[in-house]
Every structure is written in C-alpha cells, then in structure tokens.
C-alpha cells in the first residue's frame, strides 16, 4: 500500500443563500515513499483546496469534505486523515506530514523571531528545550543553505529575503523528518534563479531522506523537472494521470494538450504562434452534466455531454500507466503543431522505454 492514497476526495463549500461550490469533486491519487507526485492545474482547479483538506486546515464551518485519504503511519497502521480529530492530527503534522506554503511571508509569524518559530516545532514533537533546541534549529537552517544561521535565528521574517524565508519554511517543515511533504506552489513567489535553488533543495531532500513529496503547482516546467507522476486537475477532477515522460510526450486530454500548446517555450523558434485554449476557467459546466472542459474543447462531440467521463486507461497504453478522463482523447499528436512529425517519433520510443523499465 502506498504512503498516502486519496480516494474520491470531495470538498464542497456551502454558504447560506448561495449555491454550493464543489471545489474538489472526486480526486483520487496515491503517493509512494520517495516519490514526487505533482498536482497541476490553473487557478480554481482545486489543487490548493486538496492540499488543505489533506492537512486538515480547512475551516470546519461551511465546508463539507468527503472521500478518504489513507495515510500509512510510522507504526505501519493506516489512518484516514479526513476523519482524524484535532489533537491526533496535530501529532501527525510535523513528524509525519508537513506542508510548505506559497507565500513565505504570510505563513511566518511577523512578530516572532525565526528561531522561536523553528524551535517551537522541535519542542512540540521532540521535547527539545533550551540550547539543544537552538543548536538543532541552527543546524536545520544551515542544512537548507541559510548562511550565518545563529544570527538569522534572532531575526524576524521581514529581515530575510524571499528565498531565505522559503528556506526557513522548508527547514521548519523538515525539522522532524516528515515522511510526506506537501508543497503548495513553493516557488511561485520567487525569482527564477532562487526557484532553481529551492527546487534543487527539494530534490535533494527527496533523494537523501526518501521523503515523499506532493508538489502542487501551475508551472508545467517545474513538473517536468521534478515529478515522477503527474495528475492534471481541471475543475476539481483529475483529467489525466501519467508518468511525466508519457504525459509530456503525448498529453491525451485536450486540456493537458492545450495547456502544453499554450506555453511559450524557451527553446521554440521565435514567431511561432501559441495555441491558446479558448475561453476561461469560468466557461465550465458541472461534471454531472458532462465533461466540464467541453465548452472550451476543440475536440468536443455530443458524447461529451452524456455525464462525466470516467478516468480510464488510454487506449494503447499499459494498464494504469496513463489514465485519461475523456471520451475523445488526443492520440498520437504532440503539442505544438509545427514539429508534430519528429516529436511523434520521439514519443513512441519514449513510451516504449518507459514501459520496459
């Protein structure tokens, strides 16, 4: 069994006098030890809400959470993260589960020095006090690449640069060597050169400690470099799930296909027009009425309106290796029409390589 297996997670926001909003409507995926799993999608697809639901950070009122999220604890038993009580969840957060947020400035307490915020975790979960805790905190900061850690411990969040704040946050998250790290857009607020540093750091953490990483991002470039498995979300459902190589070589869902076609790439020739997806995220229909992506889809047929399509194996792929939620998936066509021919050839050799591995 995997470290975390999420099964049909649903999150509904309810409010008096307003229609219920299904932010997440049936998301399933699993994360193994030492694996990096990506949740990718644009704003409003439910990726952040998924992570908050897993960490038990959604407010209790006005939110309905359904489904299961089984987490294998250190002892070997498994618990459902969604039904755990507050104190049980607190014991789990830190030593077993940890999260890194998008905006490091708003997730650090501005009126408390960094040192106190790091030692707090050590005191709660490891019972460390005084100098031992301070030394360990300094060591943690040093490990994530913050120079002069003893001085930094006395400083406040505003005195640190953006990259350093994110490092401090990572240091806090890995303080108790968690087995699952959830990173919600950890590099979105950072510059590219700093982003490269942080991504490299996360990669090393996964490689050295066998930490599982759930990476939530909108940036397909980050996913291509970091994730083993990728889940593409649209309007609260996984629309495509595959290993990164098959996914990037031949995205089968029209949304994933369109997304890759609409990114300007550093290595594409200048002047090649982008192929954007029509409309915006507001142009969706409810999953109950059909495929939510249908109004924006270029490959739309009447069959798309006969209820939500199931997440099924892609024709021609290994079972469970490449799942797609589409009645009319894009086959044998690489994103970006210009170099379709040779990219198609690459695609095939890649998938066979992946399958043989």
């Amino acid at each position: 069994m995997s470290l975390l297996s999420v099964d049909e997670l649903t999150v509904t926001f309810t409010g008096r006098g307003t229609r219920d909003v299904n932010a997440v409507s049936g998301v399933s995926f699993s994360v193994d030890e030492g694996q990096v799993v990506g949740l990718v999608g644009e704003s409003g697809c439910g990726k952040s809400v998924t992570s908050l639901a897993l960490m038990g950070l959604l407010p209790k009122r006005g939110v309905r959470v359904g489904g299961r999220a089984l987490f294998r604890t250190k002892g070997g038993g498994s618990t459902d993260l969604l039904t755990l009580g507050r104190s049980a969840l607190r014991d789990l957060r830190g030593p077993q589960l940890a999260m890194i947020f998008q905006d490091p400035l708003s997730s650090l307490n501005p009126v408390v020095p960094i040192g106190v915020q790091v030692t707090e975790i050590l005191a709660r979960h490891r019972g460390m006090r005084g100098k031992a805790a301070r030394d360990q905190a300094a060591h943690l900061l040093e490990r994530v690449g913050i120079p002069d850690p003893t001085r930094r411990l006395r400083e406040y969040p505003h005195q640190l640069s953006g990259g350093m704040r994110q490092r401090a946050l990572i240091a806090m998250a890995v303080a108790c060597a968690p087995r699952l790290l959830i990173a919600d857009e950890p590099t979105t607020a950072l510059d590219v050169t700093i982003q490269a540093q942080i991504l490299e750091l996360l990669k090393e953490l996964v490689d050295d400690q066998g930490t599982a990483l759930l990476m939530i991002t909108h940036d397909l470039g980050v996913v291509a470099g970091l994730c083993d498995d990728v889940n593409v979300l649209y309007a609260g459902k996984v629309v495509e799930a595959a290993g990164r190589r098959p996914l990037f070589a031949a995205p089968a869902h029209p949304y994933a296909h369109g997304l890759l076609g609409s990114i300007p790439r550093l290595d594409s020739p200048r002047g090649e027009p982008l192929n954007p997806i029509r409309g915006s995220i507001n142009d969706t229909i409810a999953w109950g009425d059909g495929c939510a992506f249908a109004p924006r889809c270029d490959f739309y047929t009447l069959a798309c309106l006969e209820g939500a399509p199931a997440l099924a194996d892609l024709p021609g792929a290994e079972p469970a290796a490449h799942l797609v939620r589409c009645v009319n998936p894009v086959l044998n066509e690489a994103p970006g029409a210009g170099d379709a021919d040779d990219a198609g050839a690459d695609t095939e050799s890649d998938t066979t390589k992946e399958a043989s591995a």
Partner: protein
C-alpha cells in the same frame, strides 16, 4: 530606424532618514546607466529578476519616475528635458499596459468612462458619440463584447481586464506601448491568448513594444531584441534567437538554465548553473562588475574593481563581461562548481535518538530508492 533611444539613463531614489530634517543618507541605484535603442515596429524585451530595475526603467521612459540623468529620445525629442505639460501631451504616443489589471483600473468607473477619459484628455473625438464609436472599434479588436461598455472592472476575468488595459492604451493611437509584466498575473491558457493578441495588434497597427517581464520564455516568444538587466544595468543585449543560442554573460546563462522547460528529457539533461545567494541590495551595489558576488567565473582583481562596459561583439550582440570571450571558447574554467550540492550533510546532531524505528525506516527507504534508481533507464 530607431523610435526610442535611451542614453545612459539613471534613476536614483534617495534614501532619507531623520525626524525633523530629512537627511539623504544614500541612494538606491535602481537604474544606473542604461543605453539602448528600440527600432520602430519591433519588440524590445527587458528581462531580469525582481529588483533589477526593469520596471523603474519602463516607468522612467514615460517619466512616471523622475529621471536622475541621461536622455530618453523618442522620435527626435528628448523626453527627459520636456516641460511637464508637453510631456503630458507626448504621452498620447507612448502608452503603458500595467501588470496588475485590477489594480490599474478604477473600480468605480465603467469601461466606457475608463477608455474615454484618456481620449478626452488628449482631445481625441469631438463628442461622446464619436468616442463611443472609436471605443467600440477598439473593443472588438481586443476581443471584448460591445456590452462591456457599461460594465465595471470587477465583472471581468483577469484575461479580460488585461484586454481592457490594452484597449485603454490603444484608443489613443500610440506609437509605442510599454507592457510591464503584461501576462504574469494570468493563467497559462489565458497568457497565450493575451500574447497572441499583442502580436496580432503589432502586425495590424504597426506598434512598437517594450515588453518588461521576468519570464524569459515569454520575453523570448514575443521580442525581436532582448536586453537582460541585473542590478540596474544592462548586462547583455542580443536579437532573441542569438541570445537563446549563445548567451554570453554568465548571468544570462544562469538565468536560462534556471527557467524550467516543460520537457522532461531536456530538464534532465541540460546544463545547470545554480547561483549562490540572493540579489545584492541596489542601495549598496557591489563594486566592479555587479554580478561578481554570484558569478561562478569570477576572476580575482579585475572583476571586483573594474566595471565592464557593454561592448559589441558583432551581430548586434552586446555583452558586459570582461571574460565573455574566454568563457565562450572554454579557456576560462569556472572557479567553483556550477551546480553545487545545496543540502548540508546530515550530522549526528540531527538524528532523533528516541525514534530508532524512524531511522530504520529512513534507511530502508533509502535502500529502496537506490534500487529504483538503478532500474530506471
């Protein structure tokens, strides 16, 4: 023919301190001597990380910031020396599209009022009817429905708001549009729509753009010439394809290697240059070459003391590095590892004595990981 010519433009912001008398205690050297020229009908891309001065430079062209020194020559007139009222009138030909589409639109004005305001200020269109006809024409051009006229900014999505921002610039029939991070607030699928729109408008109206962005891929996609900025200075400038094929400045190379590309094979194989540390403060920039504190090829003496000039190396490629040629032909080795390991070694102090099973589990995981790695092709 160059439409816009910047000559040694400097924008310094004074840092003031004191209770009764504001003493100037220093300066933030936001833009420190930038010279470039923008050809009519082309797109000039300015790229750099936050704090490099690219936005300040863009605003300085329109004199939204005071220019400390230098000349901004637009179509033969030096904007830096223009009296305020004449500058205001000159702004009809120079427009700006801002980064945050919601923040730059007045929430209490409807779209017609937002678009007509600039026209009235510059005396375009005799009356309301004439302006409305013109506005409708432009709205159609940018892909907004005519019903948008009486609606308010909050009723639109991010992409549509950016279209309104573009329409606001277009109604004045400008020659040059400065786009400050035009797509960074938008989702990728919407980003592509706006980028395509900007290109279409350029083709049909013959516009000249200065596009300011932090995203190198976006800038490369839309620009003819790219200038890379670092700490208030231009470190490299080249035609877009040349810059991508042969980046010469160490900073450009690091920047390019840091941009994630949605292609797993390329991501795994390409050269990676990790820069150490953060951007130094522009209030106290390093001496000599400003990049020397983070440069993997830094040489003793010369890099620390002598400021490299932006020199032409042929083909419209200009680079500000003493050792660009040596780095390019490989005769100069980097003085430190290009992609050093970041994670410090786990020392015994970090181990948890009380939780032996956890360590055992970690060991086991490590083993599994190793096996997995050996089987992957």
């Amino acid at each position: 023919m160059s439409l816009l010519e910047l000559d040694d433009v400097k924008v310094h912001f004074p840092v003031k301190r004191g209770v009764l008398f504001d003493r100037t205690v220093g300066h933030v050297y936001a833009v420190d001597g930038v010279s470039l020229s923008v050809t009519a009908g082309q797109t000039y891309g300015l790229v750099g990380e936050s704090g490099c001065g690219k936005t300040t430079l863009g605003r300085a062209i329109l004199r939204l910031n005071d220019i400390t020194a230098g000349h901004v020559v637009f179509d033969g007139t030096d904007l830096a020396a223009l009296p305020d009222e004449e500058m205001r009138r000159a702004r009809r030909r120079l427009q700006m599209v801002f980064q945050d589409p919601l923040g730059s639109l007045n929430p209490r004005q409807n779209i017609e009022s937002i678009l007509a305001e600039g026209m009235a200020a510059h005396g375009i269109g005799a009356d309301r009817e004439e302006r409305r006809t013109r506005i409708l024409e432009i709205l159609e051009r940018v892909g907004l429905p005519a019903t948008a006229l009486s609606r308010y900014p909050h009723e639109f999505s991010g992409g549509q708001r950016q279209r309104i921002g573009i329409a606001r610039a277009l109604v004045l029939e400008p020659d040059l549009i400065i786009c400050d991070e035009p797509v960074s607030a938008l989702d990728v699928s919407i980003q592509a729509q706006v980028l395509n729109l900007l290109e279409e408008l350029q083709d049909s109206l013959g516009l000249t753009y200065v596009v300011i962005a932090h995203d190198l891929a976006v800038v490369r996609h839309i620009s003819d010439v790219i200038g890379v900025m670092y700490l208030g200075q231009l470190v490299e400038e080249a035609p877009s394809d040349v810059l991508y094929a042969e980046p010469r400045h160490p900073y450009t190379r690091a920047l390019m290697s840091a941009v994630p590309v949605p292609d797993p094979d390329l991501e795994d194989s390409r050269e990676r240059i990790l820069l150490r540390g953060d951007l130094p403060s522009p209030a106290n920039p390093p001496t000599g070459c400003r990049f020397h504190t983070r440069c993997p090829w830094r040489q003793a003496e010369r890099c620390d003391t002598e400021r490299p000039a932006l020199t032409d190396i042929g083909g419209g490629h200009r680079v500000a590095c003493h050792f660009a040629a040596e780095i390019a032909d490989g005769t100069l080795e980097p003085v430190r590892e290009l992609a050093p390991k970041l994670l410090g070694a786990e020392t015994p102090a970090a181990e948890v004595p009380a939780e032996v099973p956890a360590d055992a589990a970690a060991q086991r995981e490590k083993g599994e990981r190793g096996e997995k790695e050996s089987t992957t092709p």
